[in-house]
Symmetry: C2
Subunit: 364 residues, 2 copies
């Protein structure tokens, strides 16, 4: 019971933070359309909704399919089941949204905005971007707890995979096991389609699992994650099937060292750019920098990719309770790839890795 | 080799159809941003791309991650690897897009359109909707062949599930098997998160699988699908675990009869509305109409939900080579739900169901 009360208080606090922002923004209402933002704000997990926040009220509009679900889930906003179209409902004199309405310009289609403008012409429509991101990326303890559980599942799934990695298994066989064990261990679902990429396939950072059998005496990149209680996990391990070349070992060790350096560097007050640069410089010195073609990491939460990013594009300091991946990768075209990825919680003075799956080279 | 040549010819024909539309539309270029439309048009299956079609040319813009993949996949358009931002690339004097550019207003965010307008102010930007839908919904034989294979996998997966449906299995256990066997039988992935909903959960049309054990002496709704060669399958079966009530049997038989009536009614020249109405009237007469709260069906292709829909909103006639689901459902609140769904190919005078999984009530 006590826990329930705390949760309700936190939910209301999220709406409260948006209301504070509303007062500062000079608009009268926020229209929130992104389903991840809506879940964060109200706990509603359905596939169709719009939240409207004014200085006095908050409503969640959805359809008849969610009549029962809104009663169980929605916190801090009044649920409204829309009978006809959303625009008709919103035009009703029941609501007083004020003159200036801010909308999520980066989340709504151009057509939808045009429909709003045509149907509700007496409002001024103000495009806003990244409306909730600054709040969403600072996690609460309960959110980190959900991610810890998602990571625990991923660690257990990884253990299940190791004995199955043999030259007779295909990449798709291993991917099938990942999806299977995610659910068997209690995940809601995969957080993304698993990547299992053997040998030269591992050199394609966005490889998809194929019918190809796992290549002996080479490396296999396994990138996977699940969703628990709405929150995602994301991790990558690279393992060897049989004996691998000295070049492969040397790349593996360089990536592992660089990943540990990234975890050591990431902490509150350091920018995403600086962490990325530190790891990139290290790999440059090892001669592998030109094979590291993507950003070092990204935020994780209700979405598997969210803010903040660890890349040259993010000059802002990391904040306590950010959760980000640290995932350097070196991809040698035509030969193999190595990527090692953990999620870390950012604290003052250090970062805390969530995954426990081993990172020392496993030779199967 | 002959097959390859045919495929290239078809691809070029798709670009050609868009060019014909361009000539009729009064604009000088189409900007195509929807990844499913891009895959349909060019075969490119990556996660980031924009296609531009003018009266003379077609280009596909993507990033360095897909440098290899565009060479293998893209047909009928010149691939361009964008070094910096897309807008910078598009402003280059290499291209001559003309004065009027049509964009996908229903697929692009308001912000992205604003960026285009700011960065390329010398063009007139014309909002267009449903740009490719009229073409995409008429399937070619090779596309139907891919869907047949996806359906074959789903039929085999359903066979695997039946012995596992026992009172000791949870909904999530069965969902795990679906995701596992989809991949083991060669699917690229699930086409959506499987629904396994037992007893009262089956009365929620958008139930998610839970830790709940399958309820004996009640019905279980299993809605699942996979993707093969990019194309989706989608099917629902409802099975009984143990002996079920006369009410449940009577609902099951009514839904099955109504589904067969739907398949019989669906054919070229009949509107989506008329098929929906025929099935709805039948269920009304049986006294269950008020428990059938969703549309009768939807198109299937590269996406699991596309056009045309079978609902009161679609007054247009179905066309030969449309592929649609026929999926009436009756949901008795607090008790159980029944939904039966097949995909059918629309022909002149009849429709052809693709699924072979049994529809007579299975009592396990």
């Amino acid at each position: 019971m006590a826990l329930e009360e705390t949760q309700t208080a936190l939910e209301n606090q999220r709406i409260h933070m948006l209301k504070e922002k509303l007062f500062q923004s000079g608009v009268d209402a926020f229209f929130i359309s992104d389903l991840y933002d809506i879940r964060w704000l109200t706990k509603f997990s359905g596939s169709s909704a719009t939240v409207v926040i004014t200085k006095q009220h908050a409503w969640l509009f959805t359809d008849f399919r969610y009549e029962e679900q809104v009663k169980r889930e929605v916190q801090g906003a009044t649920p409204v089941i829309v009978k006809n179209t959303l625009e008709e409902e919103l035009k009703s004199p029941t609501y007083n949204f004020g003159a200036k309405i801010g909308f999520q310009a980066d989340k709504l289609s151009y057509s939808t905005v045009q429909t709003y403008k045509e149907q509700m012409p007496n409002h001024e429509w103000i495009p806003l971007t990244a409306l909730c991101d600054e709040f969403v990326m600072i996690k609460e303890p309960a959110e980190i707890e959900s991610m810890r559980k998602a990571v625990e599942i991923s660690d257990k799934v990884f253990d299940k995979l190791l004995p199955l990695i043999t030259p007779s298994a295909t990449e798709l066989d291993i991917a099938a096991e990942i999806s299977y064990w995610n659910k068997k261990f209690g995940a809601d679902k995969d957080s993304f389609d698993p990547i299992v990429a053997s040998g030269p396939n591992g050199a394609l950072p966005h490889a998809r699992p194929s019918y190809q059998k796992l290549q002996p005496n080479n490396l296999i990149v396994i990138d996977m994650g699940c969703v628990f209680n709405g929150y995602a996990s994301d991790q990558t391990r690279t393992v060897a099937l049989g004996k691998i070349s000295n070049e492969a070992k040397s790349v593996y060790n360089a990536v592992l060292e660089s990943q540990l350096l990234g975890i050591e560097t990431a902490q509150a007050g350091i920018s995403g750019k600086d962490v990325d640069e530190k790891v990139r410089t290290f790999l440059d010195e090892k001669g592998y920098g030109k094979y590291f073609g993507h950003a070092l990491g990204h935020g994780v939460g209700l979405q598997v990719h969210e803010k903040p990013v660890l890349s040259k594009r993010n000059e802002k300091p990391l904040m306590p309770m950010n959760v980000v991946t640290v995932e350097p990768g070196v991809y040698i075209p035509g030969k193999f790839g190595v990527r090692i990825e953990d999620m870390v919680v950012i604290h003052e003075g250090y970062s805390e890795p969530l995954q426990k799956s081993p990172k020392k080279l496993i030779e199967l």
